[in-house]
Amino acid sequence: MTKDRSNIKTRFYVLLICLFIFAVWCLLTYRMGVKAVILPSPTDIVDAYIKLAPTLPESILASLKITLIGFAIGAAVGLLMGLVMGYSKSFLQVIGPFMEITRPIPVFALIPLFMLWFGIGIMPQVLLIALGVSSVLGVQTYEAIRNMPVIYVRAAFNLGATKMQVFKTVVIPCIVPHLIGAVRVAAATSWGLDVCAEFMGVQTGLGHTMIIQQNYLNTPQVLAIVLIYSVLAIGLDQIIRVIERRATTWTERSSLSFEGLTVEGKMSRKEKQAEREALKALKKTKMEE
């Protein structure tokens, strides 16, 4: 089968599954009378958007601002920390133990503390997201440096580069492909941190709107906002993937695929039995000898 045709086929299946899910949703809400408070119907959701419309742009902007600023600061700090840990052994030995102790602490657990310390403005949220992102990326950057092929570093030194030059021209480009996964995870985490932080304090934003609507048992509105968060998160992820493709054109992407790999010569039960009997017969003749 050609690649195009199999592509069309898989797309068709995806569409089919989507339609099925939508059909079940409609069935549950319109036919079987599941209450809107448990599961809102598609029309409820549309309704919810209309009701939310006046404040929605403001909320989206507020959440977007907090998340992106937090993510950017966190990514910058994390990458820098990782790089410095890779660059300087003494920095690693001093900072490393503290990182090890603080890293396992769930960032979410710090939300109340952050609010006490920094108030309920944008500040604690940004800091929270930055902290969560930087602790993920710091460790990942350092690990990526530790696992990079030594030969490139040796070659660079041997060609006359200084340590700083080796970091700029060899280490950083070399680790980028290995960091993309971590950056994507960190971006997804930053949305979660945003929701949590908004649940607890701030006066604007999607998460804040969500908690208010939940208090009034407005499930359609809650679900409507969840959908907006999904779109935002997917959007950020897509942007990162585009950057990834640009930054890693040089890598030899392995297209690992299990398609079309078949193994021949697996023993059937019959053959196994035959083998056993042959062995038995062989032993017997040996014994007789």
């Binding site: 490139y152 660079a156 041997n158 060609l159 006359g160 580069a161 040089w250």
Partner: protein, 254 residues
């Protein structure tokens, strides 16, 4: 001139020092093409890395033009066995790398990088990425990159070991041609006796320490310039046979 006096090397291990080679005394002359062969585990790569300055002798000293080798220097350039070409840089960027990090101005960089790219036969591939090149072509990039720095000493650690026979032969020919045109000291490590005989002025055979750790030398009498048909000559075959025998006697258990 590289002088080895009483050079020993060992890695620290749980059971004390894991000794690799001991008390090596010899000299590589200026502009000599010296090939070192030996069974795997005899320490030939380690010895080369000591000359490059990646590692330091546990005892004894290696002198380069009378001065002890203390660190890495682009004047003693290493061509590695594995692929060391930077995959994120184009061929041109790779070749000019050494010049660039050393602060050579751009116009000179351009000229030199261009010259060495032509020398190894890669013109037209300046903007190609390493992933678009074959293994042999990547080795050419590596060679051009090292040569662009115009080092005094070339240290080559089985550079053609991973290539197929045809590619290997054409690169061997290229290397002797380059060396004929601009003489410099080459310290070449291989486990391929034919390669050593074809390339070198002199072959050193290093035994494993467990087999005595002896280092013996054989002058190679063949006239230069050499071409690959030399390998078919009877004198070459005789010498190859002779060395093969010695190689196996020294305990090449594979």
């Amino acid at each position: 001139m590289i002088e080895f006096s009483n050079v020993s090397f060992g890695y620290p291990s749980k059971k004390g020092l894991a000794r690799i080679f001991e008390n090596l005394n010899f000299t590589i002359q200026d502009n000599e093409f010296f090939c070192l062969i030996g069974p795997s585990g005899c320490g030939k790569t380690t010895l080369l890395r000591n000359v490059a300055g990646f590692e330091h002798p546990t005892e004894g000293v290696i002198l380069n033009n009378g001065k002890p080798i203390e660190g890495i220097d682009y004047k003693r350039a290493m061509v590695f066995q594995d692929d060391a070409v930077f995959p994120w840089m184009t061929v041109y960027k790779n070749v000019e790398y050494g010049l660039k990090v050393r602060g050579v101005p751009e116009d000179i960089r351009k000229e030199k990088a261009g010259y060495y790219i032509r020398l190894v036969g890669l013109e037209g591939y300046e903007n190609a990425l390493p992933k678009e090149l074959s293994g042999g072509m990547r080795k050419r990039v590596d060679l051009a990159r090292v040569l662009a720095n115009e080092p005094d000493v070339l240290l080559m650690d089985e550079p053609f070991g991973a290539l197929d026979a045809m590619t290997k032969e054409s690169l061997q020919e290229k290397l002797v041609q380059i060396w004929n045109e601009s003489k410099r000291t080459i310290f070449f490590i291989t486990h391929d006796i034919e390669e050593a005989l074809f390339l070198g002025d002199r072959v050193g055979l290093l035994h494993r320490l467990s087999d005595g750790g002896e280092l013996t030398f054989y002058d190679i009498p063949f006239a230069r310039p050499r071409d690959i048909y030399l390998k078919q000559e009877p004198e070459f075959q005789i010498m190859r046979r002779d060395l093969t025998e010695k190689f196996h006697k020294c305990g090449n258990r594979g």
